[in-house]
């Protein structure tokens, strides 16, 4: 009898400690990066994987259009940061990895022209490598793997200009232009100074490289314009004046796009919309599923991720009740899961990346203590993501 009890106890203890151990190499985290200066307001712009290790580089704006770089490790721990000198302002929200070097595009506050800076991750500094005098007020940069494209909207010009930059990154080799037909200087200045509405400017090429989808001011509206590979106008999905329209797009190929658009005060998602790059149509007429809880004034992000070997589209946006909403769709466009992240404090999605370890890393702006806008990062581990799609 006594021996049975002993064996029972021993079995119980061994059983407890022999349970399958989950993978601890990928643990989720939430980090907010502090700054004692309460007057300083950060607007995270872009995040990309570092080239020297497994960490991430974060580009942010602070105090209006000043530029801040920060490096964190793969677990979100702060490593170093750098405030760029005042001669560089208005960083466009794209950290570019060109031939295993990180670059950022910004502007000279006096000359108002574009500067391309190389980030020296080892020595924690930046080096200006070129000045593009003909590109004034840059608002976006896009590298498609072979060429760098810049979007600018010079003040008083009433034009949006797309510039293809040479491989040496020092001259403009091709230009495409759009007429805005109205003065948007006030909107543009508020955008670059981070004092007003942040417009979702973007350039995205299709997987076939036959078209560029360009979100920009065009023809009295903020619209999605298609350019062909020669930067010639092809078609447009017009926004509703300066407010409604497409605010995020992810090209899937064969003229299919995952997109987020706004109309009135609502946000709509479509994980698989067929768009005609030669059409002239209204963006607000693109069929999409609305979500009334989402905040139409904050960014929406779309990324393709892979969970358990299957591809999913991740849509990330902010709710009106201060939460992040992550929605996952499978390849057919079927919604698999919608989940909430964070609570109770104003939070905006700024960028996201799918890590080499199968994790989803999100760059956010968090307003802590109800007062201070700070850079934040949130990581969902591989097992978090697997659990999300398990409900399938």
């Amino acid at each position: 009898m006594k021996r049975s009890i002993l064996f029972l106890l021993l079995g119980l203890v061994l059983g407890l400690f022999s349970c399958e151990k989950p993978d601890k190499s990928s643990l989720p985290f939430v980090k907010i990066y502090d700054d004692q200066n309460g007057n300083r307001s950060f607007s995270p712009l872009s995040m990309t994987k570092a080239t020297v290790d497994n960490g991430y580089m974060v580009l942010s704006a602070y105090d209006g259009w000043r530029i801040h770089l920060m490096k964190m490790d793969k677990d979100g721990n702060f490593e170093w940061n750098l405030e760029l000198p005042e001669q560089y302002v208005n960083a466009v929200p794209s950290l570019l990895n060109i031939n295993q070097q990180l670059y950022l595009v910004c502007m000279d506050p006096i000359a108002l022209d574009t500067r391309i800076l190389r980030i020296d991750e080892t020595n924690r500094q930046v080096q200006q490598i070129s000045c593009l005098e003909e590109v004034s007020y840059p608002v976006h940069a896009y590298y498609n793997g072979t060429d760098l494209y810049l979007m600018s909207s010079p003040l008083s010009s009433q034009m949006t200009v797309i510039h293809q930059v040479s491989h040496t990154l020092d001259t403009v080799v091709k230009v495409g232009a759009l007429s805005i037909s109205t003065n948007v200087d006030d909107l543009l200045l508020k955008h670059v100074m981070h004092t007003g509405k942040q417009y979702p400017f973007f350039i995205q090429s299709t997987p076939e490289n036959d078209y560029f989808a360009v979100n920009a001011f065009y023809n009295y509206s903020f619209s999605t314009v298609f350019f062909d590979s020669d930067l010639q106008f092809s078609g447009v999905y017009n926004g509703a004046a300066m407010d409604g329209g497409i605010n995020a797009i992810f090209p899937l190929g064969s003229n299919n796009f995952a997109l987020a658009r706004t109309s009135g005060e609502n946000v709509f998602f479509n994980p698989k919309a067929a768009l005609n790059p030669t059409a002239i149509a209204m963006a607000t007429n693109i069929e999409a599923e609305g979500d009334a809880e989402l905040n139409h004034q904050t960014p929406a992000l779309i990324k393709e991720i892979s969970i358990s070997g299957k591809k999913y589209l991740a849509f990330l946006a902010s709710s009106r009740s201060n939460q992040l909403v992550l929605k996952l769709y499978d390849e057919t466009g079927k919604k698999i899961k919608s989940t909430y992240l964070s609570k109770n404090v104003p939070i905006e999605a700024c960028d996201m990346a799918f890590t080499p370890y199968g994790e989803l890393l999100m760059l956010v702006r968090v307003r802590i203590m109800g007062s201070y806008n700070r850079i934040g990062s949130i990581k969902l581990s591989k097992s978090n993501l697997e659990k999300l799609v398990e409900v399938e």
């Binding site: 980090k31 907010i32 502090d34 004692q36 309460g38 992240l341 964070s342």
Partner: protein, 274 residues
């Protein structure tokens, strides 16, 4: 050194009692059943610190480590049942399944300079957590005596099953290592259970004294326990179930709980002779 001499004296006294006890046997019964009630004190033993707010060179502080209170600042309650079986009059196995409430608290503080809000902004937070669990211990007890009064030592393991946990945060605007709960601003009480490792195993050890009567026995014991598993589920550490993570910049450290339970037990013997 004083501890050593004290321990030596206690061993001599116990040996004396033990020698005397062979002459006067009061413990004639093998089975005892009873109830117990007591108080418990809890202390987190921190293994790894975590902070939601990541210090940078521009921060006011180099780290945001939490300041934990000491063992006796974290009081809780225990009540349950008692059952024991004596292999010999001095050597018995006991179990004391009980409901227990463990509390632990910590403080942290933050500081920003803000000319818009009129200068310096100070925030000090007191985080109070309460864990309710069922504890099922199995202890081996050695009595030093067969007299009416019998000092004893006991050791064993227990299974702890946490069934509910809650958390509340108190804050004020002064960094003075004191947040007065009566005057501080408080959050609502939020459920904290999903952040826990619900099942834990603890090792226990302690001692006490028993008093035996013909039809009744009493004991007063003190037992230290140490949870072998960490209390916080590391996969849910940053999951904001309470809604307090980003609002109060709070994330739990990695720690194991150390507890001291002081129990008063009333037992009745089953009159079954040796």
């Amino acid at each position: 050194m004083r501890t050593f001499w004290g321990l030596l004296a206690a061993i001599f006294v116990m040996q004396g009692v033990h020698a005397q006890s062979r002459k006067h046997q009061y413990r004639k019964d093998r089975y005892f059943f009873g109830i117990n009630i007591g108080t418990g004190f809890t202390q987190p033993v921190v293994d790894e610190r975590f902070s939601l707010l990541e210090p940078t060179p521009q921060s006011a502080k180099e780290d945001y480590d939490k300041q934990y209170g000491n063992l006796f600042q974290n009081g809780g309650g225990v009540y349950g049942l008692h059952a024991s079986f004596a292999f010999t009059p001095q050597f018995s196995v006991i179990t004391q399944p009980c409901f227990q409430t463990q509390r632990y608290s910590y403080m942290n503080s933050y500081h920003w300079s803000d000319t818009i809000m009129g200068g310096e902004v100070y925030k000090e937070f007191l985080h109070r957590q309460k864990i309710s669990s069922v504890r099922i211990p199995v202890l081996l007890r050695f009595d030093f005596s067969r007299l009416r009064f019998s000092p004893f030592l006991q050791t064993g393991i227990s299974a702890d099953i946490a069934y509910f946990a809650s958390k509340q945060v108190f804050s004020d605007n002064y960094i003075d290592k004191d947040v007065d709960r009566k005057t501080a601003t408080s959050s609502s009480v939020a459920e904290f259970t999903p952040h826990l490792n619900r099942f834990n195993v603890a090792v226990l050890g302690g001692g006490g004294i028993s008093y035996y009567r013909e039809h009744l026995a009493f004991s007063l014991s003190g037992t230290l326990s140490y949870n072998l598993r960490t209390s916080i589920n590391e996969f849910n550490r940053y999951a904001d179930y309470t809604g307090m993570a980003t609002e109060y910049l709070d994330v739990q450290d990695k720690f194991n709980l150390l507890s001291l339970n002081i129990l008063a037990t009333v037992m009745v013997p089953l009159h079954k002779k040796w």
